[in-house]
Amino acid sequence: RGGMLAAVLLLLTAAGPGPGPVPVRAGRDALREELLLSPLPDGDVAATFQFRTRWDADLQRGAVSHYRLFPKALGQLVAALGVRELHLALTQGFWRTRVWGQPPLQAPAGAELWVWFQPTVTDVDKAWEELSNILSGIFCASLNFIDSTNTVTPTASFKPLGLANGTDHHLLRYAVLPREVVCTENLTPWKKLLPCGSKAGLAVLLKAERLFHSSYHSQAVHIRPICRDASCLAVSWELRQTLTVVFDTFSSGQGKKGKLGSSALWSLSVHSTSLSLPLTLLPTDWSLFKMFSRTLTDACPLASQSKVYVDISPKNKEKELLEVTPPPASVHEAIVQGDKRTYAVYDLLSPSLFNTSRSLNVQLKWKRPQDSSDLPTPILHAQRYVSGYGLQTGEISTLIYNTHPYRAFPVVLLETVPWYLRLYVHTLTIITKGKENKPSYIHYQPAQDRRRPHLLEMLIQLPANSVTKITIQFERALLKWTEYTPDPNHGFYVSSSVLSALVPSVIAMKDVDVDVEQSSLFTSLFPSSDGSSYFVRLYTEPLLVNLPTPDFSMPYNVICLTCTVVAVCYGSFYNLLTRTFHVEEPSRGGLAKRLANIIRKFRGVPPL
């Protein structure tokens, strides 16, 4: 470690910005970067980047003027608006928990923003509005569409992740924009917040054309106060920038598994038994170059830690599934989400890594084919859909699965529904295993038309090995004609509902007391309460609901146009008919005459 530190210091002094020594005492800051490559159960590969900037300065106290690694835009924002915690996620796609397993960090499709404000903030709504507008500018996202109609104040689902005393939920604001489309214009400002930009370190892999050539893309910014040290006497601020992409094995061009010729299928007869298809599947091999069309050449010079983790945990306790080249220098074992995982670690700051070759191109080779049957189902997953048909009523159904064989656990469900779906709360039914399941806590805030959405929060106990079905009926409101979005026939989005749960882990987590500063980043965002369970936050699918829509097409336009024309013509014609014309006496003379008349009036002489 000493050698590594020396290397860091060497690098820092060699590539530090600007001349002169860095003022260490006036707020020590440190950057750690990390890339986690994890093969997903169905053969896809997820890559999670985390960049963590930690600053030993108190932003709230003001008087911070010199920014080094921490981005100034965000730091000033935190100071000016009294933000205690800020979590912003921009996501394109949907994390399919059922086939991909629990994500390290999940986010709902679209844009999600939740913020805890300081207790000193008097007008939280105003600060929230201001904040969303500023963030909208920083990240080039439509966060300015966050207003009171999609903002809620959850009471139980979102707790502060960082240092907090007192959780008065009136200081919390939460909003999701499910329609937000995330693309490169959101990625570029996100990359600019990194100390090294995308010039060096892991960030060189962040090439937009590859990142958006994926099945799932989620980028997030988390700002929170943390303890400076174990004694927790002072506050440090932490900025985490995370980015998760899932690369599809199919769409990468090389079909993964024995590719079926379409001509063969065209003529195939379903009932013929002689046909044999290649049914053993060997997913494509992966490498950093194949995924990102880049390789790693160095660490970010400003980073104090720069590591690449590859999940090589064996499945089913059998022999390893994956072969990783080059052979890792060390292997890290951790308990992540209730499961023991093995990671191959590449430390970009260790000088031996780039000795043999100039660049690091981690490759994954599948050793043996996968079966369709042994996809592990995650302990907690959910599904949500709209049932019913027609344009008057409908029903939102949520299915929550607990596949744990013997442990029951509670889950907090947060449902935010726009006001134009009028929920009938008396129709709320929660059914588990054929019996009604009474939630132990319900917080319902009814919607107000054009003002605020429905908020429904429930604490539901999920019995072991069960499916819980939650249904609630709604009626579709008829909007005013100016309230329809462009292309209203496409439908209106209902944002994802949020499931927060402490899921009992299969194996006990012993190493809870590991120093956070030393452990890998992907394990340390959510606080784990004790060794027997771990925190999971899941998001369901957003919904697309059709509302009764007037025909905005040609007949509608024709009607509007005809009415206008008729109104105009009729108005003028009527005016013409009913107006009486009479000749007006032309007023002769100007000011002089009027003056003369006034004088004559005084004199008692008839006017001119």
């Binding site: 796609g93 199919f250 769409s251 079909g255 195939l268 292309d487 697309l544």
Partner: protein, 459 residues
């Protein structure tokens, strides 16, 4: 249906595979196949669109039953799935569905997907479906009375459009498109236009109602041809039964058509970025390239109703034969007035409106109370009178008059509800007819009996 094979194949293609077992009790045994309880399995694979949140989907469905009836379509669908899986530009999930037992399987799948139960409640069997629900030729000739599908399904959001493929030979010479859905519902005309444009561009022979559009459209035989096509369509709509598996989608506001013998409709269909809406949902098709819009054929019905209206106003004029002008009856069509008018309509030949009420009261009854003082001397017909003071006096006989039609209506309704089932039992016991035939025969019998009923119920 080779369920396991299909599942394996779809999984190999990289789809998310689900199966849906269902069973359905038919109210009438299907004599063609000798089955009473139908069990089947639908298999479907979902192609998840990258970077989309599963909010919307398209369906490509292929009916597949025992026997080599639709094998080519299944092969085509799998080939399309394999090709589609490699593309990255999808914005909607695509569901590849292989449904067993034609309409029964499709209905089971749709109900399970939308989590509704339309065709029967658990426990209580609903006996009388408004009309029989026969499958296509060779399909299940049955009313779906009970459906049980198990398991929770993989879903992909709101279905935007659907295409049902039917392909039963290796060589395809022309493509027929079927649009008529359940109860005569039609898909959006744009979908059909799309199909037509596709056929035109690729120079394919496309037919509707099995009829090729003629090139010389302005000759007399061509008009006859078009008329024939149009009438075939009207007939198919009037029958109320879907002409393909797509017909069941329309209830859920999913635009759908059935293609018989088509090989690549894809690039047009999936370029669809918006839900089809700016077009006609009500139309008649004399040929594939021409349509009769609702704006053209509705005025005819309007004129039919106009006759009634004219008749009413004319009657009113006749009633007011004493040369008094009076408000238009259309403006006061409410409550007893409307009833009056209705009575007048049936009594139009019996003279003035003043005698209407008298004659409507039972003949043996005493003369009604004299017209109250409210009736002005010039005596406009009561039907156009402001009525409140008059109403209490005449309400007794007026309400009595109402009783027979009400009773008859209810009796007819009850008879219509119960007679088919009863008649079916009686008929199968005493006559050598099958159960499903018995229903039709009973309905015909009721209809004939209804025609035989006296139309003038009074006097």
């Amino acid at each position: 249906m080779p369920v396991a094979w299909l599942e394996k194949t779809m999984w190999t293609l990289g789809l998310e595979v689900h199966r849906q077992p269902f069973s359905r009790t038919l109210p009438f045994p299907d004599e063609l196949r000798e089955r009473y309880m139908v069990k089947g399995t639908n298999v479907y694979g979902i192609l998840r669109a990258p970077r989309a949140a599963s909010t919307e989907a398209l369906v490509l469905s292929v009916p597949c039953s025992e026997g080599p009836h639709n094998n080519q379509a299944v092969g085509l669908m799998l080939a399309l799935a394999s090709y589609f899986r490699g593309q990255i530009y999808w914005a909607k999930d695509i569901i590849f569905l292989v449904n067993e037992h034609d309409l029964l399987g499709m209905e089971a799948w749709l109900e399970a997907y939308h989590d509704v139960n339309l065709t029967g409640e658990a426990g209580a069997r609903r006996e009388g479906c408004p009309w029989p629900f026969p499958g296509r030729a060779g399909g299940a000739d049955a009313v779906p009375a009970e459906i049980r599908s198990s398991g929770t399904l993989g879903r992909a959001g709101a279905i935007q459009a659907a295409i049902s493929l039917e392909l039963s030979s290796d060589v395809v010479t022309s493509f027929d498109v079927a649009v008529e859905g359940l109860n005569g519902q039609l898909p959006n005309l744009d979908l059909l236009n799309l199909f037509h444009a596709f056929c035109q561009k690729n120079g394919l022979l496309c037919t509707i109602q099995g009829k090729l559009p003629r090139s010389d459209w302005d000759s007399l035989p061509a008009f006859a041809h078009s008329l024939q096509t149009l009438l075939l369509m009207v007939l198919a709509q009037a029958s109320g039964q879907p002409r393909g598996d797509h017909g069941l989608f329309l209830r859920y506001r999913i635009e759908a058509i059935t293609l018989r013998g088509i090989n690549s409709f894809r690039q047009y269909k999936y370029d669809m970025t918006t839900r089809l809406h700016q077009s006609y949902f009500f139309y008649l098709l004399p040929s594939l390239s021409r349509f009769v819009s609702i704006g053209v054929y509705m005025p005819a019905f309007g004129f039919l109703i106009l006759v009634l209206i004219l008749k009413i106003s004319f009657l009113g004029g006749g009633g007011g034969a004493r040369g008094v002008s009076k408000p238009s009856p259309l403006l006061s069509l409410d409550g007893p007035h409307a009833l009056d008018l209705w009575m007048k309509l049936s009594k139009s030949e019996t003279g003035s409106a003043e005698r209407l009420w008298d004659s409507d009261h039972a003949g043996g009854e005493a003369r009604p109370l004299p017209v109250p003082s409210l009736s002005p001397p010039r005596g406009p017909p009561r039907s156009h009178q402001p009525h409140p003071p008059r109403f209490p006096q005449e309400s007794r006989p007026g309400l009595l008059v109402l009783v027979p039609p009400l009773v008859i209506c209810h009796a007819a309704g009850l008879a219509l509800y119960y007679l088919p089932v009863l008649g079916q039992h009686v008929a199968t016991q005493h006559f050598p007819v099958s159960e499903s035939e018995a229903v039709v025969l009973t309905v015909i019998a009721i209809y004939v009996a209804g025609m035989a009923l006296p139309h003038n119920t009074h006097r």
